[in-house]
Amino acid sequence: MTTVLKVQDIAKSFGGVQAVRGVSFEVEEGEILGIIGPNGSGKSTLFNCILGQLTPTAGTVHLDGRDVTALRPSTLNRLGVGRTFQLLQVFPQLSLRENLILAGQEHRGSRLGRLFGARDAGLTGDADRMIGFFRLQHLAEAKAGGLSYGQQKLLDVAMAFMAGPRLVLLDEPAGGVNLTMLGTLKERLQALNAETRTTFIVIEHNMEFVMSLCTRILVLAEGRLIAQGPPAKVRSDPAVIEAYLGH
């Protein structure tokens, strides 16, 4: 079992506010790791520190043994880290397929080659395969801005996977999604994980979603890691219950 991600003593403060205080954990290849915690526990800040959106005040992040602390998000992405967003961030003016091609194009060939090469950077096939996997064929040409919320969520996830990443961080993927779509989403994520052995880290509020999807759970409260383990163990951990009820 190889360690894909190693987070050590990550801390982040904004002015006087300590959002994250010394969090450390490791993620093994193929795991689906869930991170839960009450509002304000520092989950998003932790995510953003790992992803290079924020520079941690202290601590390191290692990807496959390589120090990637505070690298720019685009660099991290090219090293094999993808992410989805809590607030939907597709490109509304482009078609669904175009969105996917965009998501993969920086990983194909050289930058100069892309100027003179094919319009789609040779990605139409891959995009269509992804569209098929998420069962969105009938919407391939539709402008992404016109899709329903749930469909945009699926597109968001699909985009994160276009470049065949090693590690994908999903920021509240279940937020605002109706029950049926939620089932599809969970099922597709599990299928992806089984097929590609991609490692997932998921922040979620939806307990049922996270407990049924993830193989291991971390619990954050007030910027600290207070519990970790398989879903059943975490669910019954008194410290975790206290953290949620105490708020």
């Binding site: 967003f85 319009r119 016109g146």
Partner: protein
């Protein structure tokens, strides 16, 4: 007839019209006596302005940055071409050099400015524009100062002299068409997709591996190069250059004309350039008021039609075709990312 067919037909028609319009066609039974020298000059000026506007369009409409130095880059191209052709350099090389030099200056200028906050480029280009104009005005030994450089010869193409105003017009038309094609190619390539991404949603683009700093820099530098190319054509067009056309106010006007035409659309710069070149002519009677009208027009457009004139046409056509209930997004300036409550 698909949209592609219509576009090709329209372009062919437009090409034919543009080629024939300065000529006297009465001998062929067509009631059109052609444009005189001044009319053809205006048309040529429109093309040159449109090239510079295409550059601004790339920077503003596709990469989402404000540039306030396009007139300065035009000036650099113009002075460079004037000086080198007078020293004996063939026009073709001067033209290329203008583009290359302005591209490199764009890279140098953009690199530090884009490392920091988004709107810094506006101020850096503003400062640069003023600095460059000061150099044009003060360095008499190089640029002739306020007296400028006169007697700029028009080039010859494969031995055919382009001195005559119609020949020169056709030459500029050809160059404009070529540059427009290059622009179209860039926009349609994966680079163009990256530019759209960084305008619509730079955070998302970064997370997909798109190096937004580099792409913004490239868009900026290419846009500046178009300014240089326009300048290289401007010098032989007017045959005399002085610092006036490259003053601070002109930089603002280039930005505004692209907005009026429609930033982020292909036809936008051409429409905007037409407005910019023709409005002072039509409003001759209004003398100094044309700038006032111009400014009011822009403010009104921004409030009701940020897609500019091209955007208005776009909306007209989609309304005719029976648009979906979804309001069609305006090209260029309107923000596209949608905020959804968590």
């Amino acid at each position: 007839m698909t949209r592609l067919h219509w576009t090709v037909i329209l372009l062919a028609l437009l090409g034919a019209v543009l080629i024939l319009v300065p000529l006297d066609l009465t001998g062929y039974g067509i009631p059109w006596s052609g444009l005189k020298r001044y009319g053809t000059y205006i048309l040529t000026l429109w093309l040159v302005t449109a090239i510079a506007a295409m550059g601004v369009n790339l920077i503003l409409g596709y990469a989402g940055q404000e540039t306030l130095a396009q007139a300065a880059f035009l000036g650099i191209g113009a002075y460079l071409t004037a000086l080198t052709t007078k020293a004996g350099l063939p026009f073709g090389l001067a033209f290329l050099a203008s583009g290359v030099v302005t591209f490199l200056v764009g890279i140098l200028l953009g690199f530090p400015a884009l490392r920091v906050q988004k709107h810094y480029l506006a101020f850096v280009t503003l400062a640069f524009g003023v600095l460059v104009w000061l150099i044009f005005r003060n360095e008499q030994w190089l640029t002739g100062g306020v007296m400028g450089i006169s007697d700029i010869r028009r080039p010859s193409l494969f031995g055919v002299p382009l001195r005559h105003f119609i020949n020169f017009y056709w030459f500029v038309l050809g160059v404009t068409a070529a540059l427009a094609f290059v622009f179209w190619w860039i926009i349609r390539s994966p680079w163009g997709r990256a530019f759209t991404a960084l305008r619509e949603n730079p955070v998302r683009a970064e997370s997909l591996g798109i190096d937004i700093r580099l792409y913004t820099l490239l868009a900026f530098a290419i846009g500046c190069a178009y300014g240089g190319f326009a300048g290289a054509l401007y010098a032989p067009l007017v045959e005399f250059i002085d610092p006036n056309p490259f003053a601070l106010a002109q930089n603002f006007l280039f930005l505004l004309m692209v907005v009026i035409g429609g930033a982020g659309s292909f036809a936008g710069p051409f429409i905007g350039a037409a407005v910019a070149v023709l409005l002072p002519e039509w409003l001759r009677f209004a003398e100094g008021y044309y700038l006032l009208i111009y400014a009011t027009l822009v403010m009104v457009l921004m409030a009701f039609a940020p897609g500019g004139i091209a955007g208005l046409f776009e909306r007209l056509f989609s309304a005719r075709r029976g648009a979906s209930a979804e309001k069609p997004p305006a090209p260029g300036l309107a923000p596209a990312s949608q905020e959804v409550a968590p």
